[in-house]
Structure formats: C-alpha cells, structure tokens
C-alpha cells in the first residue's frame, strides 16, 4: 500500500526493522551475476529446501535471502551468515546440508569452506577479517550483499527512502543542490564533472520540461560496478533519481540500461513497480505535491550509446550517434529539453549524501575527489571482484592489499584504468593516488572504474591493439578522424603485432593520435588514442622491439617469438605434454622435454601449466 507521508515511511521502516530484529540469523546467498554463473541459485534452492523441510526458519528464527554481488567474485558462490559474519566461499549444493547441520543448528564453522588467505596461508573466519574487505569503504555499495534486491521492505528497513523523505520535506531544491555540490560528488561514470554544478545549470535553464536520466549503459570491457548496483540495490538508484528530479524540477526520467544486462533490467523493473506501488514514484510523492516517474529504456548493443548525447538520441528512438556538445545537454538534451544524465554509481551515492550530510562525504577521499569509488578489479590479480575504496588510496594498495597481488606471484607489469578511454600505468606509478586528477596527469584516467591488472606475460602492444579493435567496432562512424583515424591506428598496430612494423610507424601513430584527439566529434574518438599513447609513453621499448627486432618478449604476438624449454628449470614432469593441443612437446618422464618449434602454435598452454617457469620466450 502507498506510503503517503514521511510519518508513514518512518513507521514502516520501524516495523520492518522490528521484524528484522526478531530474526536471529540471516543466511545471505550471493546472487550477483558472477555467483549466479557459478551456480549459486542451486545453492540457495538447496539451502531453502533443507531449512523449510526442518522448519528451521521458525525454530531458529532464520531468514534466507538472495542478495546482490558481495564483490569477491573470484571466490563464489558465496554464502555469508550474519550476524556472526561467517564467510563461506566456493559453496556447492552438496555442502548445504552440512552448512545447515553444523553452522546453522550447531553454530560450528566449516573450515574447508572458509577463505584461505594466500599470503598468510591461514583460513579466515569472518567477513571483516578478510583483507579483500578490510580496506574497503562501501557507500555506493552499502546495501549490496545485505539486502534482498527484490524486497523494497528490506531497502526501507536499511534506511531506504529516508533521504528522499528528508529532501522533499526538509529541504528546498536549492538546498539539495547545495548539499550535493558541497559534498564534492563528481560524476562516477568517468567524466568526473561536478554533479551539483550540472544540476544547478539544468535547474536554471529556461524551460517547462526537464528530464532526469540514469546512464546504466556501462560499456567498458571488464567493468561491472553499475551492473552490480542495478542488480543488488536498484532502489538506491531510484531514490537518488527522485532526489535529483526534485532538485532540478523534472517530472519524468529514464534509466538507460544496456541490453546485455537482463538481470539488471529485471531487478530495476521490479524495483520501479514496487516504488510506484508504495508511492515513491508517481504523483504526490510522500504527500509533498512533487511528482516524478521513471521508465526503462534498453540499449541495442552499442558502446557509443554510453555517450550522453548518443544515449539521449537512443532514448528518443533514433540512431545513437553523438552530436557536438557546444550546447550542453543540461540546456538542450532529451527531446531538446534540459536534461540531467548521471551514472548509476553517482545516483547511488546521492541518498547517502542527503541522509548523512554533505560534510561526511566531503571528509572522505581527497580534496578534489571526495567520497569513494567502486572498481571492478580484474585481470591477473588474485582477488578478482568488485571493490569500493576511498578516493586517494594508491594503486598499489588496491592491487596488492585488496587484490592480493598477482596470480602466481608473477611480476606486475601494468594496470589499465578507464577502459578503452583510459591508459596503462607501469610499476613506477603504483603509488599514485587513485582519483580523477592524478591518473589523468599520468596519462590514464580513472574512468568508470574498470581496473585491469597485467603481468609480465602481457604484451602492451597487444593491449593497445585490443582496445583499438574494440573502438573500431564501436565507433559510430559519423566523423572522419574517429571512423578513419582509429581504423588506421588499428591497422598500424595489427601490422606491428604481425611483425610487419616499419620505421616511422611510431611517429605516424603519435601524429595521427594527436589529430584524432583534437578533431574528433565526441569523447569516444577524443579518448580513443589513450591506450596506445599511454603504452607508448611507458612501454616504448616494447614497441621498438616489435618493430626493429620483430620480437615480442611477453610471448603473446605469435609471429614474434618461439617457446623453448629451459634445461636448467625443466624437471620432466610432463604437465606441458598433457596441456599441448597440438602434441608438439616430447620428452621422457623426469628428463628434459623439448618443443618442436615447427608444430608449435604458440598458444601458451604449456607455459600456463608449468609450475617451474621452464617455458621460455625466445
């Protein structure tokens, strides 16, 4: 039933919290996309059946919930048991009976299901003690993993919509804008524009109609922060948007979700229905007289539609091509009306800022990059997953303390931040603070939060080639510098990786990149040369080696190296023989093996399985 006033909201929240306090144990099964893919739904079902059969929910005052992403995706499926904070990883359906018998009924901890710290080699019992979590500070992700994203009551019990209530009844739109400005919140989608200033300009634009939109297109390869928020805490996004709509004076909005996120679409849809039902969306919200409603617009599989003007065209049903933004979207955006477009994570921060206060947010992070940032930490790092940290933390802390370091303890080579618009930073830059400005100054950018860690077996020329290939596919094709220029850059890099690089190629890349940056119509084109420029800046010798010596020392570009088994290191275990897909390795057990270079396809499978680092690149 509708919640028509703040008083009703407060009593509903109290009631929900009261209900919650009568639960002794919460069993939280992660149902974020990562754990789902690992089979967590079967785990949840199995637990649910066992609990129900034995009527343990009543007997033990137990509640089982599926939640959004806990973040530690590497270790899924995850089950967390509160309030003890017991953290089980890699849970399978066959483990659930034991979990019920021993942990839920008897209060025992199952050692083999606990996370083992690879550095101390010890098992860690609780959530809070796991290094992956201890350095994190979750604000945008505050509810994820704790609430059932399909339950608006869970959200309300956790303090949800209290921010909206405060904004509508205790603050004027101007005061809301002041608070958001004072908090220092900057766009989390990569642009880093001061959010409060964007809202102010929109509010001041002369128009009858305004729109408030959410960018949930999340196109950067390897980024899944926004997906996790939409799946795990969709109401936070909605609440943020209603607050924003109140602040700028909009009555209609859309959440633009990429087509490839069906679970996010599902959860957002459900959340919107529930919010409408309860009166947080629609007419006369909480009795304030203010009306706002939101719809979902789905993308069609184009990275370029994450660009604000292309997104708005797509929402309007046209082809998603950007336009020159000499007149900004806050003045003329969707349907030519003033429009505020913010990223999912930006919206998720807004209710927290309103309830806790702008000062609290501003006190976190750094002076010009306040608050926290969510990152998807992926690549050659031990603890792959979703993390949220205060701005200003160093790359080293994220990769080594939270990330646990490089898989196999191999040497760190570089970290790519900001997706296809960002750049690669080498070891020398590991102590850089992660914030908007420091990373940009070093030739990369924070971007939307994708962080790809690389080791010595990554070829940086190949990385640049990969991102250029992506951008060639995703360029809308409207303007010449991006459509033709990025294609030409890609061609040059393909040639270099194939061993057909020529002297003068690097200078050509640099000069063409300069034009593309200056002359492209939109941010996709303007930032397209970043991966190649940053790798040239920090790994130029690798490019030169590819061109002059026709060699790829990382052992990636197949025409530019061969594999050889080291006499000193090989102990004849034969693991490589078993791994080789083309049977080109020969050797007797316990003696030196050898690779037939003629047959070898240089796939690297042998190198991946060798525990003695005996496969060399020559």
């Amino acid at each position: 039933m509708r919640i028509k006033s703040v008083k009703t909201l407060e009593s509903t929240a109290k009631k929900a919290r009261g209900q919650r306090s009568r639960i002794n144990t919460e069993v939280l099964v992660c149902a974020g996309t990562g754990c789902l893919a690992n089979g967590s739904l079967a785990v949840a079902e199995s637990l649910r059946r066992t609990i129900r059969r034995r009527k343990l929910d009543a007997k033990l005052k137990l509640k089982l919930k599926t939640t959004g992403c806990h973040g530690f995706c590497e270790q899924g499926p995850l089950v967390v048991i509160q309030p003890k904070g017991v953290f089980y990883k890699g849970v399978k359906p066959q483990d659930t009976k034991e979990i019920v018998d021993r942990t839920l009924v008897k209060g025992e901890v199952i050692e083999r299901l606990l996370y083992r710290d690879p550095n101390t080699k010890k098992r860690v019992r609780t959530y809070a003690e796991i290094p992956f979590y201890s350095k994190q500070l979750r604000i945008a992700l505050r509810n994820i993993g704790k609430i059932d994203p399909g339950s608006i009551d869970d959200y309300i019990a956790a303090g949800g919509y209290a921010g909206l209530a405060k904004a509508l009844t205790e603050m004027t739109p101007g005061k809301v804008i002041d608070a958001v400005t004072k908090s220092g919140l900057r766009g989390r989608g990569g642009g880093g524009f001061v959010t409060g200033r964007k809202w102010k300009t929109c509010r001041n634009a002369d128009a009858e109609t305004r729109y408030v939109l959410c960018n949930a297109d999340e196109g950067d390869p390897g980024a899944f922060m926004d997906r996790s928020i939409c799946e795990g805490d969709p109401h936070a996004v909605i609440e943020g948007m209603v607050i924003g709509a109140w602040a700028v004076g909009a009555s209609q909005g859309y959440i633009y979700v990429r087509e490839e996120y069906p679970l996010a679409v599902k959860h957002l849809r459900l959340a919107i229905e529930q919010a409408r039902e309860r009166g947080f969306l629609g007419d006369d919200i909480l009795g304030s007289g203010f009306s706002y409603d939101v719809g979902i617009a789905r993308g069609g599989g184009a990275f370029v539609c994450g660009e604000s003007s292309a997104l708005m065209k797509s929402v309007a049903g046209e082809v998603g091509e950007p336009r020159a933004k000499y007149i900004h979207s806050v003045i003329r955006g969707l349907h030519d009306k003033p429009t505020v477009l913010n990223n999912v994570e930006t919206w998720a921060n807004v209710p927290w800022i309103i309830t806790k206060g702008a000062d609290k947010f501003a006190a976190l992070g750094t002076k010009r990059s306040t608050g926290t940032k969510a990152f998807s930490l992926v690549g050659k790092v031990k603890n792959t997953g979703l993390v949220e940290v205060p701005m200003g933390i160093t790359l080293r802390e994220i990769i080594f303390d939270i990330g646990g370091g490089i898989i196999g303890d191999r040497p760190f080579k570089g970290v790519q931040t900001g997706g296809p618009s960002g750049g690669c930073l080498p070891e020398a830059q590991l102590d850089l603070p992660v914030d908007f400005d420091s990373l940009t100054a070093a030739g990369s950018m924070m971007g939307s939060g994708g962080m790809i860690v690389m080791d010595d077996r990554t070829c940086m020329v190949d990385v640049a080639r990969y991102f250029l290939r992506f951008l060639v596919d995703e360029s809308c094709g409207k303007c010449v510098p991006c459509r033709e220029g990025v294609h030409q850059l890609h061609q040059i890099l393909e040639a270099i990786c194939a061993g057909e690089g020529e002297p003068g190629d690097l200078e050509k890349v640099e000069s063409l990149s300069e034009t593309i940056v200056k002359a492209s119509l939109c941010a996709l084109g303007k930032s397209a040369p970043n991966p190649v420029l940053s790798t040239l800046r920090y790994f130029r010798q690798e490019y030169q080696e590819h061109i002059n010596d026709r060699k790829c020392s990382a052992g990636v570009c197949r025409n530019l190296f061969t594999f050889r088994i080291s006499e000193e290191k090989c102990n004849g275990c034969g693991a490589c023989v078993r791994a080789c897909p083309v049977d080109c390795i020969t050797g007797e057990l316990k003696s030196l093996h050898s690779i037939d270079a003629g047959k070898c396809t240089r796939c690297g499978a042998c190198r991946n399985v060798c525990r003695f680092d005996a496969i060399e690149v020559v």
Binding site: A302, D473, C476, V480, T515, A519, L521
Partner: protein, 270 residues
C-alpha cells in the same frame, strides 16, 4: 519575445558583429572568409561530420585555453576569437583530407581537395572497400528534408554505408534524384533512359512534357510533389522551355487582338 541580441567577435583579427545564435560558419560566409566544408549545406541542419570546417577558438575569459571546434555548429558568443587558418588548423585539415584520400583514393574531388592542401598521396593504408562515398550524409539528410527518408545509413564505424532498407529498392523513394545532385563526390548515380529513370534499383516511369514529349520527372515524384505543394498536377506536365513558348504565344495572341498604336503594355508588378 526577447529581442535579438548582437554579439561582438573576432575572426582572424577582424572585429565583427553577429546576431546571437548564428554559427561561426554563417558569419564567415557572410564576410567572405573562406572555411572549407564537405558535409555542410545551407538547406540542411549542420552535423559536423567531415571536420574540415574546424577552426581554433579562444576567449579572453578562458585563461589561455584554446581548442578546435566545427564552425558549422559552434554558436558565436560575445568576445569569441576565431582563427580559421593557423598551423594547427591547417595540419588538422590536412590529416582529415589524408584520411579521406585513404578511404576514397579513386575520388577525383577528394584527390583535388587533398592536393590543394599538400596531400598528393595518402600516408595511410588504402581502404579495401572501393568507394568514393565520404559519408558526409548529405544524401540522407536531403531525402529526409524532402519528406521521403527513403535512404539511410546502415552499419557502424568503418562499416557504415549509405543504404537502402533490406537492400531492396526503397519503397519511399520517389526518384527525384536530389540525393545524386547533392552528393559532393558524385557517388550516387542514376540514369535516364528514354522515359525510364533508373535509381536505387528502381525503374521509374517518367512523365513526359505534354508539348514536346521530353521526360520531366518520375510519375511517382509528380504525385508526391503535387500532394506536398498543393499545386495541381498540371503544373508539372510541361517542361520549362515549352512553358515559356506557350506563355509567349498566349501573350502574343492577346496582344494581336488590340491595336499596336495604343502602346499597351504589361505591367510587371514587383
């Protein structure tokens, strides 16, 4: 209604005034200052696709910041300083033409334009696709302005191409050939053979001049234009030469009915 505001700006050091809302290109053209463009046409909304009209702008309030913007779209503002021809602008233009030459090595128009800017051979790899289309989009845009929207673009990025729905003769095409006439590189072709016009896979039967029998326009187009303009179809059934002859004869016959000495004259009011 707010009064139209006038702004003061500089182009290449010349102090000028313009109405707020005009683009840099409009002001430059008014002043006879040349700015190159390929995708611009006064009849169509500018899109800033070819990037050849890029000019450098700065402003005393911008703390030394300067940047390149497309003159066709950038609205003039008070105090704007525009440079249409410095080294940076020239280099950028040259690279854009170089890239176009790589895409369309066979296009005489591009070859000429590129040569005028010092690019006689492309520095880049030639396109595998043999095309003279520079994707300026003028054809699509003029077709939309005409009210037909028969052609459009398909594909994205380097695979983008001017296309017809499902690669079939477009049902909305009226055969007016405005697309072919506006194409700067002559990529879109059509052929009039006798009283048949062949364009976009269509064979349109043409209406013939009632007087001399020469083909005037496709029947489908006549229907469309009559409908759209509100003019009777008869307006479109006589070719201009015959129309002029008929007019002369009509005036002659009406004059023959009066005496010459009275010096009757026709007043052509303005």
């Amino acid at each position: 209604m707010t009064a139209e505001k006038t702004v003061n700006l500089q182009i290449n050091g010349r102090f000028l005034q313009a109405r707020e809302g005009m683009t840099i290109l409009e002001v430059a053209r008014r002043e006879g200052i040349p700015i190159l463009s390929l995708c611009h046409h006064d009849a169509l909304e500018p899109v800033g696709a070819c990037r050849l009209c890029l000019v450098e702008i700065t402003h005393p309030d911008w703390k030394g910041w300067k940047g390149l913007v497309t003159a066709c779209l950038y609205p003039v503002e008070e105090g704007l300083c525009v440079t249409t021809d410095n080294e940076d602008v020239r280099n950028t233009r040259r690279t854009v033409l170089d890239l176009l030459l790589a895409r369309c090595p066979q296009s005489a128009v591009i070859q000429e334009l590129a040569a005028e800017h010092g690019v006689t051979a492309t520095s880049y790899r030639k396109s595998e696709v043999e095309t003279t289309c520079i994707l300026c989009g003028l054809c699509v845009r003029v077709c939309a302005v005409k009210g037909c929207s028969a052609i459009g673009t398909a594909g994205r990025g380097i695979r983008k191409a001017i296309s017809i729905p499902f690669k079939q003769p477009p049902p909305d095409c009226i055969g007016c050939a405005s697309c072919a006439h506006i194409c700067p590189t002559g990529t879109i072709k059509y052929r009039d053979e006798g009283d048949i016009r062949k364009i976009w896979g269509h064979s349109f039967k043409m209406v013939k001049c009632e007087s001399c029998g020469r083909p005037i326009m496709p029947e489908k187009q006549l229907e469309f234009e009559a409908n759209k303009s509100g003019l009777h179809p008869d307006y479109f059934k006589v070719c201009p030469a015959c129309a002029q002859q008929q007019t002369v004869q009509t005036i002659r016959s009406s004059f023959d009915m009066r005496t010459v000495q009275s010096g009757d004259s026709a007043q052509l009011a303005g």
